[in-house]
Symmetry: D2
Subunit: 152 residues, 4 copies
């Protein structure tokens, strides 16, 4: 199996219009994910998705963005591997499906749907200032969230 | 426009393995929906979906079941119009999309994803012993839930 | 099982910009489908989809339109049961999945994808002035197409 | 924009049960794609998909596999970036959407649906012993197909 396949994939989910502190947390989480040798999976657009991808890509990590629209070019500029789906918000299922573990940061109803899908697909989900949902493991800082995500 | 198109579509969402009281509430809600002249939309399978469809179909109403699998024959026996999708849990988006208003009864993470999609698509959601999510309007009984759903 | 469930579902597939003769053939096929007591399934939009639905609905039949976009209101005015999917052209798979048998009339690449899905899902496909694809049964007139579609 | 984003993405489409000559052609095409510095996109499973990925990955190229099922682990062992979709054959739309240009080799109805989607999404399609469909550019050898695919 190729080496990339052996890396842990961490999904970072969160909304397109977060506050400044959440953006900084996402950027920091992205960097930590990359430095840990993990791959970042996200929804490929703006806000939390872009901040996490900027953090991960800037730290030399690989970033995958799974987009709602039909054009790979819609991905934010920090996505290495844009995957267009053309299935709208139903792509939230695909984001959750392609992460080994998820970190939810802030977020609105889109993020809530991704948390729900993560639970349906049996993924561990770490929450950082996000929806308080049964089963989501709270973390206080990006460091704690990424450390918790990487725990075997 | 055809007469069926003019009817309100009420989605009833909820899990496949609810308790007895939730099943009775779903059955009752289905009957009230049909007697109000509305169309029932649901996920087409068992549990809450089947109880609501049994209630609505038994009261002479029309029932639409939007299924995760590829076979229309998988719908429960109270579904008039089974729609197979073959897209798995991503069909939860389609259930929410095709209701004018949603009633959530009990439910696990699948229901949570449908609540999230309902909010994304700007639908009113009435909750009956379900997830307590910002924006969901609580109801105490099936009567109150259906009355609230039918409010213009 | 409800009575509607026992009816044969005939899918009529074809493009949004057909010639006049194809539109007339689709309208006629729709009428024949309705008079035979079958349910019409189509893509819910204009062109062949609208002509077939107009024929079927005008003859008292039930019409289901499976739409690419997120809004049931986008269906043409002859659709009784609009099903919005929000998954774009991937909905072509769902159209083919929900017919017992398909009649392809005229059509461009969208129709070709629906013919392909019909074959993948093991459906009989009757062709009326459409793509000549291995496995598609040619018919010369709408009557012949509908008669062939209804053959057990 | 990341360097990977600047690379041409070539989709290789074809069936899961091809003849030996088609498998060899797919393997050869995969190697040529990698050596040209392009990224391989395919459906991630067996047959043509696996042969092309084996050729590309063995030659040091990057391979993306877009899978019908819900598990990234179902990808063949030569896929670097497996993307699970869980939407069944509707994923054929996503395969076509994520290639700049497509090479169709052999193939049955699944491949036909991908050719149709490729045309819908305005992609150039090169055919190597596959369906003869209006708009598909025929090639006689893997070299000719890849050269034609890389033409600006």
């Amino acid at each position: 199996m190729p080496d990339i396949r052996k890396k842990t994939r961490i999904g970072v989910i969160g909304g397109a219009r977060p506050g400044k502190a959440s953006l900084e947390a996402a950027f920091e989480a992205g960097g930590l994910i990359a430095r840990a040798g993990a791959v970042l999976v996200c929804g490929g657009l703006g806000g939390i998705m872009e901040a996490a991808a900027r953090g991960a890509h800037g730290a030399g990590g690989l970033t995958i963005g799974i987009l709602p629209g039909p054009s790979p070019a819609d991905a934010n500029p920090h996505i290495d591997i844009p995957i267009a789906t053309g299935i709208g918000y139903a792509r939230n299922s695909i984001v959750a499906m392609n992460a080994d573990v998820l970190i939810a940061i802030d977020g609105e109803y889109g993020t809530l749907s991704e948390i729900a899908y993560g639970m349906i697909y049996g993924k561990r989900i770490i929450g950082l200032g996000t929806w308080e949902i049964k089963g989501v493991i709270p973390a206080a800082t990006p460091e704690e969230a990424v450390r918790s995500a990487l725990r075997p």
